[in-house]
């Protein structure tokens, strides 16, 4: 029998499918990919990108190995997917949880034979499936287009998209937990946005900390950013992966795990609060 978590996730996905702006986003993304696919002509000679034509116009570009030539494109795409995706997710998914917790719906759901945490976990899973789907569509589409046009195939952009999803998981976990405190889409968005900014700062915590005067301020900054997910560091690793360039020192697995574990921690806070809440 299907776990209630999956059923709730399906519920959320079905709701998402009916959202006009999410559909508009997918259509827009498809149009962008189609435009790139149709308007971009790449001439490849022995694995080197020899000439680029956009809308028929020859673009002044260097002749170099395709993978090297595509690095800046994949790098930019990775940053766009990471930060753009998280920002879009913050806005687009902000009202899923408040909607599910709205009067008239939450009583009905809570009266069904499922645990309270199933509701939050299902919502989380649904939103993450949505995010993963969008990311795979965008990154996969880009990889496919450039792969077909240049013969250079890499899973880098897709892996980078996966990293972006982990970053968004941490952000959405905080948004979901916020929704259990206040049933407001605007406040959920605000919480997600604050965490995104905090996560960017956390990635540069050592650099930022140097500019703060030593004392309480710096100690507080160091303490808070120690716990926050290091989103900018993850974004940078995602860009490195997407462009197949050597990564900064450190373990990607540990960093990735840390961000994911933070997300689970935030989700647990949500479970804790929702478990004791009267709806």
């Amino acid at each position: 029998m299907k776990s209630p978590v999956f059923v709730i996730a399906g519920y959320v996905l079905r709701e998402a499918a009916s959202r006009k702006f999410i559909m508009a986003f997918m259509v827009g993304l498809t149009l962008v990919l189609a435009t790139v696919a149709l308007s971009l002509k790449l001439e490849v000679v022995d694995g080197a990108l020899a000439a680029t034509r956009l809308f028929g116009e020859v673009m002044r570009s260097n002749i170099m190995s395709v993978d090297v030539a595509l690095r800046p494109i994949y790098r930019a795409a990775a940053y766009l997917v990471f930060y753009g995706g998280i920002l879009f997710g913050i806005v687009a998914c902000s009202d899923f949880a408040p909607g599910l917790l709205s009067p008239g719906r939450i009583e009905h759901l809570l009266a069904l034979p499922l645990q309270r945490w199933h509701l939050l976990a299902g919502t989380f899973l649904g939103v993450m499936t949505l995010a993963l789907g969008g990311t795979v569509y965008a990154a996969g589409g880009l990889t496919l287009i450039f792969g077909v046009k240049t013969g250079y195939w890499t899973a880098g952009p897709l892996i980078a998209g996966g990293l972006a999803c982990v970053g968004f998981a941490a952000v959405y976990a905080v948004m979901l937990t916020t929704a259990t405190l206040v049933r407001s889409a605007a406040l959920c968005s605000a919480a997600g946005f604050v965490l995104l900014v905090g996560g960017i700062l956390a990635g540069f915590r050592a650099d930022v900390s140097r500019y703060l005067e030593s004392g309480f301020g710096r100690t507080a900054f160091d303490a808070v950013t120690l716990v926050l997910p290091r989103l900018s560091a993850l974004a940078s690793r995602a860009a490195d992966l997407a462009s197949s360039t050597p990564m900064e020192k450190g373990s990607l697995g540990m960093l990735l795990g840390g961000v994911l574990v933070f997300g689970l921690g935030a989700l647990s806070v949500g479970f804790w609060h929702f478990e004791g809440k009267d709806c």
């Binding site: 022995d46 694995g47 002749i63 170099m64 050592a206 560091a233 960093l255 840390g258 689970l264």
Partner: protein, 373 residues
């Protein structure tokens, strides 16, 4: 478990997860600010330091011709550049020995050069009176021979070249014909040897090595402004950037392409006219080769073919596990620009440091051995 028990589990779990996450992120990213990876800087134009250096080298004023009574102001110039061959199809490569010596990669090369602890260098200094590390400024390799510039006032010309037939050649210049050379050994003995090259000296600033006395004299004539003008020198002052620069005959470059690239070599000699090289070692080792031709379309095609060849070579190197070569070719690119294109190659300094680390270790070991009685 009732809801109160579950709540307790979630809360404790959350705290543990936050702590675990912090530890993982701290371990994964570290806490030292990431060093900014500098971009490889390719030598594409004269920089301030290059201009300053070129200005300082304008030391030679050609004697003014006094005939019509109106003396045109004579612009001082760099005698070394004036001495370079002229006309198409010639080769001249200038190595800024002094600048190279004090560049990061020069330090590495010094380790390799002195990995015997400096023993050979000391012998050379004692024998010739010249300290290559102090007195040598530039080294030029042309298809006519070699020119060294620097301060050779302490050179032991008499001891080294005294047995050869020699003659003065203009003011401050002397030409030594090929002949026997005697080297004084550190132990007090001597060693004789024959050199088939002619040597010219110029104001204790230049040493010219050529195949014959005439070729040396031709160079000295150009230096003094006496030569017949066959066009401008191969390199003008505006092209003296980088730690190594010069002009290669396309035939020479075609030979350098190596086996398996015959078709490309043929096209290169057919289409290209001139290749100007610049090597920058002030940070990473970066090289720019500016290939010029007459037909823009053919040059563009040649650029594409060359880019493709580099790409294939890189893929081959990657497939064969030749990481050094692959890394060198990682930065390889061709920048088309009408009837010319620039070929860029670079090796990150870190790679060279890694590759040449053994030189430093050997040098240090040798120096320790020398200091221990």
């Amino acid at each position: 478990m009732d809801s109160r028990g579950r709540r307790r589990v979630w809360l404790v779990g959350a705290l543990l997860l936050f702590a675990g996450g912090a530890v993982l992120m701290f371990t994964g990213q570290g806490d030292t600010p990431a060093a900014e990876a500098p971009d490889v800087e390719f030598p594409r134009r004269m920089k301030g330091s290059d201009l300053e250096r070129a200005e300082k080298r304008r030391t030679w004023v050609m004697p003014a011709v006094v005939d019509a009574g109106v003396a045109a102001p004579v612009k001082p110039r760099d005698p070394l550049l004036a001495a370079l061959p002229r006309g198409p199809g010639r080769t001249a490569v200038v190595i800024e020995a002094n600048a190279l010596r004090y560049s990061p990669v020069g330090e590495l090369l010094m380790d390799c050069l002195l990995r015997d602890g400096g023993k050979n260098l000391e012998q050379f200094k004692a024998m010739s009176g010249v300290d290559p590390l102090q007195d040598l400024d530039r080294l030029v390799v042309t298809d006519e021979g070699v020119i060294l510039s620097g301060d050779f006032s302490k050179a032991k010309y008499q001891e080294l070249l005294g047995e050869r037939v020699s003659s003065d050649y203009g003011a401050g210049a002397r030409v030594y014909e090929p002949g026997d050379t005697t080297f004084a050994l550190p132990d007090g003995g001597t060693q004789r040897g024959r050199m088939d090259t002619s040597v010219g000296t110029w104001n204790n600033q230049m040493l010219v090595f050529g195949k014959s006395p005439d070729s040396v004299k031709t160079v000295l004539d150009r230096m003094d402004g006496r030569g017949q003008e066959e066009g401008p020198p191969l390199l003008d002052e505006n092209s003296t950037y980088g730690e190594m620069y010069g002009v290669l005959a396309v035939e020479t470059l075609a030979k350098l392409l190596g086996p398996g690239q015959e078709e490309l070599a043929r096209r290169l000699t057919d289409v290209a006219q001139n290749v100007e090289l610049h090597l920058d070692t002030s940070g990473d080792v970066a090289m720019v080769a500016n290939v010029t031709g007459l037909d823009a379309e053919k040059m563009t095609d040649l650029g594409k073919s060359l880019g493709g060849a580099l790409s294939m070579a890189r893929m081959k190197a990657q497939a064969e596990g030749k990481e050094d070569l692959a890394q060198l070719l990682d930065f390889a690119k061709v920048r088309p620009d009408g009837s010319s294109f620039k070929l860029e190659l670079a090796v990150p300094l870190a790679t060279l440091q890694e590759q040449l680390a053994w030189c430093r270790e050997e040098r240090q070991a040798a120096e320790r051995a020398r200091s221990t009685p």
